[in-house]
Structure formats: C-alpha cells, structure tokens
Symmetry: D2
Subunit: 361 residues, 4 copies
C-alpha cells in the first residue's frame, strides 16, 4: 500500500534514487512461458535514455538493465521478474550548492517537510530517473498483451504540443524518426525552435503528449472506481511533471452539446462487434469500460523546474536566498516523458486485460 | 480489488443499481468515538438530490439514508459503517423502449459487450445514482479530517464553466446561494441561459468544476505511484461523465516557461512552515506531496448523453434504428457533480491523512 | 485495507453488529449471467441458524436475507451483490448486567482498550453473528466454482472432535443427518453426551472441524506469500473462536520422518494429470499450490467463553468483580462453525480459481 | 496482488530463485530518520545462514546483503529500501539428475502443472533460500517497532520439539547458545540425537517452533478479517514446510472446558492497563486483537522432503522411476526456520502497529 507499486495482477513495484547505488523493480503477474530476452528491455530503455540529442539532458546514463529472476532458459517462469540498473554517472558535486536550498517547482520542500531529511542529490526518489523502471515494466506489459490479444494492437504516444506550438497531423511512422517523438514532421522544426529558445533564455518549456491505444477489446475496466479511464488517469498523473490528464475530447467536451458529443452507432459487419461508431469523442471509454474504439488520452507536462535562471527561495533555516540550477537538465521534460506515458498505458491495459480474463476469459 | 471500492485506510465500498431495491455502502477506517448523527449525512445528500431546481432532473429521489452499523449511542465505534438508501421512484416503464437499444454516450454498449446482459433501467450500476453513496462517504471523510486537523480547513467545489461561459470571480459564500453551485453570482444568469437553451433544443451541455482544498498539512501523498495528485486524478475521473482532470494550472502550464511556472519561496513567519509561496501554479502539490498551499483541481464534465433528440444507434441484434431519451434527465450533469467532486476530494484527503499518520503522527 | 473484507478478485466485505439494525455484505467478483435465487442463500443460512437443536443457542434469528443488487431477472449482472439481514431478536436487556464488565475469553477488553468504547450488547462486531454473512458469501463462491469447474467437486466440513471424543470414520452422507454436522454416526451420541455434560456443569466445550475439498485443479495458490495454505490459514483463523489451523497431517507431521511423510508418485492414467499419489500427508498442497489431491484442513475451536458459571473479572473502573453470562449461548460453538468453515474454504478457493484464470485460463 | 508481497503499510515484496543471479526485496513503510547500517541486516542473515553446524546443510551461502536504496547518510529516508543478495554457490549440476523427475513432497509437480515449466535447480522460487529476504525484512520490522514502542519488547522464537522429543523449560538466554535455537539446554542433546539418527538413516525429521512476542500494546489487529491471529497464521503458514499454526493453547484448547480456558482478570495496578490476567490460554489475542499479554504462536515444520533415500516418483513423461536427492540438505529444516518465524512475526507486528497508529496514535 505504501505507494511504490501499481497494478493489481500485473503489478510493478520500484525502488531507488537517482544518485543511490541502483534503481530496480519487481514485476509480478507475467504468465510463464513467454520468450524474453534482456535486449528487448534494453532497447526500450535506450529510447528513453538521456543524452541522445541536444534537446535532452547531456547526463550520461548507461541504463544497462539486468534480469535477476523470473526467466529461465529464455522464457518467463511465472515467478516475479527482478530488474536492476546500477547508477553510474554520479555528478553529486553538482548538487552540493543546493543541498540546503529548496528548488521552486521541485519536490524538495514537501519531501523535507514530510520526511525530515532529503536526498538532495538530483531529486533522489523524486527524480525522473525512476521512470526508467516504468519503461522496463512497459516492455513486460506489452509481452502480456501480446500473449493474449491475437489481433493487431498498438500503443503509441507522441509529442503533440510544445509551448504554444501544436501538431497538425498524426503519423505513427514519423514518431521514431525525430528526437522529439513528434508524429507531425512539419511540427518538428517549430517544436525545436521553441525548445532552443527556452534553453538560450536559461528557461524551459511545457508540452502535451497524446497516447493512442488501438486494437483493444471492449470491456476493459472495472466499474465503478477502477474504471479504465480512472486507472489511466492515476497512472499518467503519477508520471513526474504531469499536471493534467484528458480522455477523448477531454476539456474540449465542455464546448460541445450532448448531441454533438454523442458517438452515434451504426451496423457495421466489418467492425469488431458488428457495430460502428460515427465518431470518437469519448476516447474509446464509456462508463469506465473500453468500447473497442481507439483509447485516446492526453497529458500536460509542465516545464522543467530546474532552470539556469536565478529564482527566489529559502534555505532549510528559513533564510531568503536564490537558487540557480547549473546541472544538466532537459529544457523540455515532455520529450522523455513520451516513452514513459506509453509504458504506463501498456501497464494499465495489461493489468486490466488480466483482470478481465479472471472472469471473462 | 474488483472495482467497487476506493481508499486504503479510509475505504468506501459501494453496491446498488439505479432501479434495484437499494443502494448502499460500507465505510471503513473511521476512528471510534466521533459523534455522528444520521441527519449530518442526510443534509449532504439533500444537497446533491435531484428535483430541487428546474436545472436538474425532476426525478424524485427521497434519498433517505439509514445507518445500519458502526455507530452506538451517537458515536462511531471503530467498526465499519453500513449505509443504506432504499430506491423508491421507479419509472422503469420509461426505459422499456430503450431496453434493446444502445444509447450513444452511455455505458449501455460496453456493459453489454462485457457482461452479456445489462440492467437497462436507467443505467443500472453505471447510473449517477451511485454517487449518492460517494456524497454520504464524503461526510464521514470530513469527520475524519475534523478529528485530526486542529486548524481551520475547507474543501469547496464550484461550477466555474457551463458550455463556453466561465466565471470571473470566486466567492465561497456564493456557492450555496444558487442552484448551480456557482461561486460567481454574476455568472449565474449566464450559466442559466446556456442550460435553458440546451434544454429547449432537446440537448444538454458540458461544464467545468473546480475544487479548492485549503488548510491541509504538507506531506499528504505517497510517492511515487500513490501521489496525492494521482489519487485525486483517479478519484475524480471515476465520477460519471468526467473526461479530464487538472491540478493547479493544468493544461495551461504548457504555455508557461519554467521561470513563469516556478512558485518561488520566501521566508514568511506567518506561514504554516515559515515559508511563503509567491504563486500557486502547482495547485498545492509538488512531487506528489501536498505543500501546505491550497490544493486546486479542475474536472471537465461532458454534456448529459441522455437527450430528447433523436440519435442514430443499433439494437442488440445489430439493426440500425434511432433512440430518443424521453426520461427525466439533467440538462447539465455538471451541476449535481459538484457535491460529488467535493466528497471524492474529502475521501482522498482523509485516506492520505490516515496514511501519513501511520508513520508520521 | 481496514480489515472488514477478504479475497482479491472474489471479494467479500461485511458490516454489522449483533444487536444493531442489520448485518450485511458486498460480494464482488461474481461473473455475470449466473442464475441466482435468494432461496439458495437462505437455505445455506438456515443450516447455520441457531435454535435448531438443543445443542445450540436457543436465540431465534430468522436470518432472512435480501439481495439488494447485482441480480437482474434471476441472473447475476457482474456488478456487486449486496446482501442484507435485518436483526430481529434483540434481548439487549440480557446484556445490561455485563455492560461494565469484561467477560474473560471475549473480545470485550481489547475492543475497549483499542476503541475506547464498546458495543456490549452480545459482542457487537465481535459476535459470531457476523459469520452469517460468511455463509451467504460461501454460496456465491460455490456459484463461481460451479461456473468454471466442469468436473465434480465438493467442499465438505465435519465436526471430528468434541472435547476429547473423536470420530473414527468419515462419511460425507452422514454430516447433514445429525445436528452436529458429524461425519461418523457412531460418534454422535458420544459428542452429544460431552456437550450435554458441559451445559449441565454451566460450562462449554471445544471442538475440532475438518474440511475436505475434493476435485479441485492443481495450481491454485500464488507463491510465495499468497500460498493456498497461507490464505486458507488466514481465512479459517479469522473465524470466531478458532485457535489453530492445520493442513494435511498438520502437527502430526512432526512425528514422521521425511520418507514416511513423502507422498510418492506413480503413473496413473486414470488420475487427473496422469499421476497418482500413494498418500496425502500434504493435504493436497505443496509449495503453496494445490496438487489436485483432496485439500484437507483442520481447525481447533475453543469452548464458548460465555458460560453460566461465575468467573473472576474487573470492571472498566478496574474493580474486582465476577461475571456470569446468563444469555442464550452455544455450549459448543464448534457446531455452528462447521458451515462457516465450509464457506470460508469455498471463498478462498473461488478467489484463487479466478486468480489462476487471469493468467492461465 | 500476485503473491510476492505481504503487509499493508509495512510491506515486503521479494523476488529471486535459489539458483538465479540474485535474490532481493523491496521494503516499504519504514519511517524516515531511523539509523540503519547494513551490518545490522548482515548479522541477522548470518544467524539463518546454512553451513554453521553439522545439523544444517553444508551449502555455502555467503548471503552478503547490499542496501540499494532508502538510506542516506546512515539514516532511512522514508523511501523504499531495496535489498540484494547475489547468489554465489551454484552447484546446479547436483540437480541435473532430477531435472526430469518430480521430487515427492516438493513443489516440483504443482509448479510444473501450473506454469508448464520449472526451474529445477534447487527448488527455484520455491526454495527456502527466499526466506533470507524475510529475515532481512524482519530487521527493518524490528526498527519500526523500536521507533514507536517506548517500553521493552521482545520477539523470540525457539525450537521446542524435534521428532517426538520436546523441551521442558524455556529460557530466552539459552536460545543463541546452541546451534538448534533451543530454549532448553537439557533438550539439546536429545534433539541432536534425533537429527543425527535421521541423517544416518538417509532421512529427515520434523519439528515444532514456538514464537513469543512480549511487551506489545493491546489493540493490534483489525477485526474481523485482518485479525492479528489471522495475519500471523497467514505469515507463518507461508514459510516453507510449515503445515500447522496455533495461537495460545491451540489444538489443546479442545480438551479444556470454557471455565478452564477462561483467562480471568483481576485488578493489578502494576499491569500495563491496570488489569492482570490469571492465565494466558488465549496466547495474548482475543477477538483478533492483542490484549497486552505475551503473544504466543507455534508452528509445525515438516521433515525436509529432500532425503538421500530412494523414493518412488514419475518423470514429466509420466513414467515410473525413483529419485534420491544427493544434494546438501538440512536433515531438519525446522532449525533454520526459527529466525524466519521470528522475522515474519516481527513483520506482522510492525505492520499492525503502523495500522493502529493511523487512527489511534
């Protein structure tokens, strides 16, 4: 219960701080007999890894993952899968100057108020480094989905807004062709300009990510509290720096009337259940259950609070001072949050698929 | 685990369909020795009850609640509190005509696809009637908060947008003076006009609700998955018709830079921990923990899917037809969702206060 | 988490005190489309009901159960099933004389120390009356098992020891032919004599119950903490007055060597998995998983602490006094615990069957 | 939910197989600011470690534990504590001959039937090697208890029966003076003789362990399902080879009458709550709550199923054969289960102390 795990049947529990000896996780609920090679997890981690373009932090994290249990002779055994990444790139000295100051927009202050101490080296447990384990778990979630869904399915996240710039088109195939995970090639230079501009101003910039999960069966989700949308909202809001979650039309739904927002049905022998939808304002979820339509979610990611500009703050002794973060930080944390959002969505869907199977397989 | 409860220590489990014999809930985690009278719960239920203005459904629900356990001689005993409301106003006949049709925007279709049958009378389990138990539970959550927080605190929700009309001011004292729970008296006639207009057009309209929780201690929330914002997101997204949740600046954060979004600190001997904040873009939550600032959340509520206009749909036999809901429905479900949002916020805060106490009381 | 529920997917949450307005429960996890009539639950409750022979309390509990939700047109809907029994036979006056005294062997004292107050009327929440809901839930557990296990299976509990008297034979068919749920007709008069003797001495007597669950598939249980035997131990130990739980040979295993205790295998084409066992010392569970053999458990039930003899005690004001319980009590609570043990076993097996199905259906 | 963790607030989740790369665990719920040095955990592990006398397996397990997270500058931080032990002594070859055979009394068969494959190297996940993490977690549980209980308390387990030989006296101080963890020095040579005899006969022998927890407050436990005795029963039954759990007089309670079994009260100003007990048949637990008296539990540990004698079995292809385990095995697994039982008891008590604090600190 104590906050370091999520999921019920497909369950992930993580540990580790950004500048401690290691981060790791235990993944439960993966069925036995699924082929698994460590390289599959490594590939996903490499996608999230920093230092791959000049739009993300230049911190070097090798993120080399080891599988410590749950796999024997190349297949899962049904027992918990232990994953470990040793931390390597400790520029803890970078943080010495902030050891006694609370960085605005960071977890520093509430951690200090709650726990009475804090690991000031790079955010400790609150660091986005923890999200590496989410990406690793996402690979196993995809394995679970693959094991049981026999028709094509796909979970894809993309960066759809940076600052006030937005995409105009969405093409899955474009997402891995640019370092921003942007589905619209024409938006890439506009996004890049906003990010470069922010960094030149010793500042940072916010972003919006959209997640599209297609090909999933109807009935995922458990009314009335573990609704699929509710569990997605929790999983996505638990990602560092996320301040908003929308399903389908989200906040825009306010501007629609009931008739405009209705996703009308029609008989369609080619559709999964013989029923077609004229639109998808609902984002594939009604009454907390998936409908079989694409599941659509969006998250707002705040600008990195670590900026090279001077900000007003106080010390632990309550004296006014200023702080200026000179470490190596992402000017737009929204970029590296894309694979994390994808992974969290996969974890939620895998968990609910197993939950559905318990009674309705 | 099966979806009908929420909370860990302060835990609510509900049952009941809109047109079955009764709805009810079990509330666990309320400490012993707290004075409790059934009238306190009744008062809160009456506030959510339909039929109180011409802006909500004219369905008569007496919503008379009984306490079945957990209270002895006017005080809680520490054992689970059982609450029951018998259903009375069964116009099930209204629903006969839709028994074989799936209403667009409703849970009808995914329930049918998942469970193979459905209680077509008014939504069954998916009906907003279930939210009466959330409001009842919210009263007990407030009791828990009162028991342990010795300084003034307050949880208030208000309707801040209907269709495209928005409030311009927020005054807690205004909220209970109008049937819309609107904190801006000047916005009330504008909101009323939009709602009346929608109903005249046999249509409905969406809304935005803001929740403000003030006076709460720092440190509520459990990193990294049971963050306070993550648990609020789940709790609020689990309310019927909600399609989006924001904390603090929410999606607007995208348009801010890191320096603009920073809530800078300054020494303030009058502030709870001696530390003042220059702004509250974060909505009172950093790193998943409350900071001591007001906790601010907003939710988007979709227009009622039940409209008196004709919509395209199919029957269970996959034949094209139309459906037109002639029952008594809210033209703006956002109104009655206000006390529900307040209650869900209280439940999340009560649960996290108890969780905090386990280790840090 | 707060202690009033058990099970993960098949989950039961109960409320209610012996002398409050009602007791009830919410049962989650029952799949949709299972035929269910309230009379099926009533029949099981009648079996546990007191006042049916002169070996149990003469308290009249009509125990008339109502289904409040989760069933529509005679079939389960997949939503939570709410059950309610109104309390009727309130001889609270019987308890007035003990309102200020702690009865030895009862929950009175620790409830008072923990909660600061107590419902002294008949045990309140600690009363065995709560077990009526367990028996009701057990019926639904049997429905779940029936839904998914296509070969014959059976869960039967019997009274195998009263005081120092033990059975010598076990015949399932005998159990419902005598008021003691005893599987050995020759032991019945011996058991009756011990019980009558205890009552005449204003005393009570302990008992042992054995539970046999036959026909269950291999693989039930989740290593290493939610082992089938561990979950059975918890479920059975949670029954009022139980002080010990054994699986298979239990404590007698201490007197065996490893070779004696080994349940050797042999090829047996007629056995479920083609493998026969030469013995069943293990009680059908190895490594926390069911093996396909009969699952055997035994529980020790203490003598009723409510006796008509005078016992030394203290008042809430810490003054020495005596207490003598003149209410209507079972001289051997072990008798009525038999259907409860059966029900709890059914609940554990149903939950683990659903858990197994999630990954291995 | 998937079985690899236990506890609610003080929660332990483990991973790892006996012959995989490592075993480890994540411990959640430890409050911040508690001094912790890795040597404290190592000392406890050394006590459980095999190869320390000729009564346990001669397998060399260095069991060198590392703390990977949750501790900074010698104090806990409130974040999850990750612990790791690399596996070193891989005599996997010993197991080659049994790779295709199911060992009677082992988890081999049900694991194979459930998961379709098995890690035959020494038991894999079902190996008692996993209990090293329980012992490590027990140290942290003791830290939690120490943090909040300000008066002396003590949790001690001892070996009280081997085969049919029993202790006659209990002296805490003797337990660590002999390799059998036996509290009666006069019983030690008798126990040793039984164990030596078993080994000489290529056999093994069962045992009984008693656990005594003194100095704990009243009120631990959550009625009616998470009773303290129920949670102890689950925790203890989840230890490898345990087949029975008793509280207080346990199965012997059957031979007592209600008046004999009553633990009468008397006014005692020197007792914790001013109330003395004339006896402790209840083992310190009434109604599922601790009473303040010593908490007493006993467990039956079966003889090691791995014996050097030839046993009848079948291969995975269902052919009759024999198996004879020539590896290095404990002739009496009950010995090394003593520190494990102590650790599990500490974990349950720490969890319930935190649970109590949530509402009643």
């Amino acid at each position: 219960m104590t906050g370091n795990g999520f999921g019920e049947i497909f369950r992930v529990t993580t540990f580790g701080e950004s500048h401690g000896p290691a981060i790791g996780c235990i993944v439960e609920g993966v069925p036995a007999q699924i082929p698994l090679d460590v390289s599959e997890i490594q590939t996903a981690l490499d996608r999230r890894r920093p230092g791959q373009s000049d739009f993300t932090t230049q911190r070097k994290e090798s993120d080399k993952v080891q599988i410590l249990s749950g796999v024997f002779n190349g297949r899962t055994t049904g027992t918990p899968i232990g994953l470990l990444i040793l931390n390597e790139d400790h520029h803890s000295a970078d943080y010495a100057q902030i050891a006694d100051k609370f960085r605005p927009g960071h977890a520093d202050l509430p951690y200090f108020l709650k726990y009475g101490n804090r690991d000031y080296r790079g955010g400790g447990r609150a660091s986005a480094r923890e999200t590496a384990m989410r990406v690793a778990a996402g690979v196993l979630a995809q394995k679970v989905l693959n094991r049981f869904i026999k028709t094509p399915f796909d979970i894809t996240a993309g960066l759809i807004q940076v600052g006030k710039e937005k995409i105009e088109t969405w093409d899955n195939a474009e997402i891995n062709k640019n370092p921003l995970f942007c589905p619209d090639p024409l938006a890439v230079p506009r996004f890049e300009k906003v990010i470069r501009n922010a960094r030149e101003n010793k500042d940072s910039v916010g972003a919006v990510i959209e997640i599209r999960a297609c090909g999933f069966p109807a009935g995922l989700g458990e009314p009335v509290y573990d609704r699929l949308d509710a569990d997605l909202a929790k999983a996505l809001m638990s990602i560092n720096a996320v301040k908003g979650v929308e399903i389908g039309d989200g906040f825009d739904v306010t501007g629609l009337t009931g008739t405009q927002n209705a996703d009308e049905f029609f008989a369609d022998p080619t559709a999964p259940n013989g029923i077609g939808f004229k639109s998808n304002h609902a984002g594939g979820i009604l009454g907390g259950l998936s409908t079989g339509q694409p599941i659509i979610a969006r998250i707002a990611v705040k600008p990195t609070p670590s900026v090279a500009s001077e900000l007003q703050t106080v010390t632990a002794e309550k004296e006014n001072t200023t702080v200026c973060t000179v470490g190596r930080h992402d000017p737009c944390v929204g970029i590296r949050a894309v694979p994390v959002a994808e992974a969290m969505t996969a974890c939620v869907l895998a968990d609910h698929l197993l939950r559905l199977r318990a009674q309705y397989a």
